[in-house]
């Protein structure tokens, strides 16, 4: 039987209350949102805390998808299912729907949250790759105020983030630019599993030429990885199979996969190449379908 080590359970009634508790209890405390990453780790005794602060009552305060002219802001307590079912996200960032359909399973998606996924900082985690691909930034609040960090700065390493002991991830912000679309491709061993490799792509077109493009990979290094070299290789060119192949080759070369039970390093490099091509191809096809003049 798997049971976590003993801890004191506290329930936060507001963001300020949660931060106050964290400030008082220090590193012996941890927030729990959906709990579908943290509780399994606690059951395996890979993570042990004296205090667990339940923030599920903050869903009213932090469960939102807010659309503004130049960005979409998503509250940290927004659940996977809400991200999957959001029409505005499906229209603006179809990468969310692609990824959410293959994250765990529908029952787990009823509980898991955006903020929890990012704070878990698992290098194989799909939403982290989505946020990396979309160039998201994270709003973090502590007793001393708020700060915004990019995804590159948010993830410090496996299971490590920029969120301090007395701080909390509040929302994730996604810049919105016209004539763009996005896609996510994942290979998994069975439904609901972690990725063998995943690739996300976001592309923006201007008069038939790629004005910007981003690719993010999961499960091929210590963090979900954005690949600036691909952005440089794609900018200023018209989309083509040859261009996607060049991007795929860069992905295969620059990622840092490790051989494990999910596959060999060589196989994962092959997947990084192929999935990068597919994600770029699908992103461009979506732009053309939505916006033939782009």
């Amino acid at each position: 039987m798997q049971v976590p080590a003993p801890f004191e359970y506290e329930r936060a009634t507001s963001v300020d209350h949660a931060i106050g508790l964290l400030d008082r209890l220090g590193e012996t405390a941890r927030l729990v949102a959906g709990g579908h990453s943290l509780l399994p780790m606690m059951k395996l005794r890979l993570a042990n805390f004296d205090y667990l602060i339940d923030i599920n009552d903050l869903h009213g305060e932090l469960g939102y998808i807010s659309v503004e002219p130049t960005q979409i802001r998503i509250g940290a307590m927004t659940r996977h299912r809400e991200l999957l079912e959001s029409q505005v996200l499906a229209d603006t960032f179809p990468i969310f729907g692609d990824a959410e359909r293959v994250i765990a399973d529908p029952v787990v998606r009823n509980r898991g949250t955006l903020g929890g996924s990012l704070c878990q900082a698992d290098p194989s985690e799909d939403l982290s790759a989505v946020c990396t691909t979309l160039g998201a930034s994270c709003l973090i609040r502590g007793t001393g105020g708020e700060r915004v960090v990019t995804m590159e700065d948010f993830h410090r390493g496996p299971y490590e983030t920029a969120v301090g002991d007395a701080e909390m991830l509040i929302e994730v912000r996604f810049p919105v630019r016209p004539h763009g679309s996005s896609a996510y491709e994942k290979v998994e061993r069975r439904a609901g599993d972690w990725a063998v490799v995943s690739a996300g792509a976001a592309v923006w077109l201007d008069a038939g030429v790629i004005s910007d493009a981003r690719v993010g990979l999961a499960a091929v290094g210590p963090n979900t990885t954005g690949l600036p070299a691909i952005s440089e290789a794609l900018r200023g060119h018209a989309p083509s199979e040859e261009l996607y192949a060049r991007a795929g080759a860069i992905a295969a070369q620059t990622c840092r996969p490790a051989t494990d039970s999910r596959g060999s390093e060589e196989y994962k490099r092959h997947l990084a190449d192929e999935l990068t091509r597919r994600a770029l191809r699908r992103s461009v096809a979506r732009i053309v379908a939505d916006d033939p003049g782009a």
């Binding site: 039987m1 798997q2 049971v3 976590p4 080590a5 003993p6 801890f7 004191e8 359970y9 329930r11 729990v32 709990g35 579908h36 509780l39 399994p40 606690m42 059951k43 667990l52 339940d54 599920n56 765990a104 399973d105 529908p106 029952v107 787990v108 009823n110 509980r111 439904a191 609901g192």
Partner: protein
Amino acid sequence: MTVNDAEVTREIEGRLLLVHFLRDHLGLTGTHWGCDTSNCGTCVVWMDGEPVKSCTVLAAMAGGHEVRTVEGLEQDGQLDPVQQGFMQCHGLQCGFCTPGMLMTARALLDRNPNPTEQEIREAISGQICRCTGYATIVRSVQWAAAEEAGTRTTIPAEGA
């Protein structure tokens, strides 16, 4: 919390999981305890009307919420249509996954009264039938959907 509409209050340890609270403290052993790793889905119950894996929810987290278990499916002595469907279409063999399957199927039909086979398979994709009897589980859910719609004529054909 309320469990199957009955108010329940207990002093518990923070680390107690909902599945053990239901089984060991309340004696509601209809909810099964399986893989312990949120993979198999036999522990699925509803929290505020949504299916959750009760091996990955602390009992304390369910405090103040409405929990429904497989024991709460039957209403006024009448089996729920999904329970009837599982009987009619051989939706259970060993029965271990059945409580979770029933709870997920009921929640699916409440949101989508006429699901396609693909939608049924997706809804139960987080649950494992160790007898591998998925075809008959899908057929059982289709039986229940047709029963509720008043369109049931026969047991759905083979190959569903």
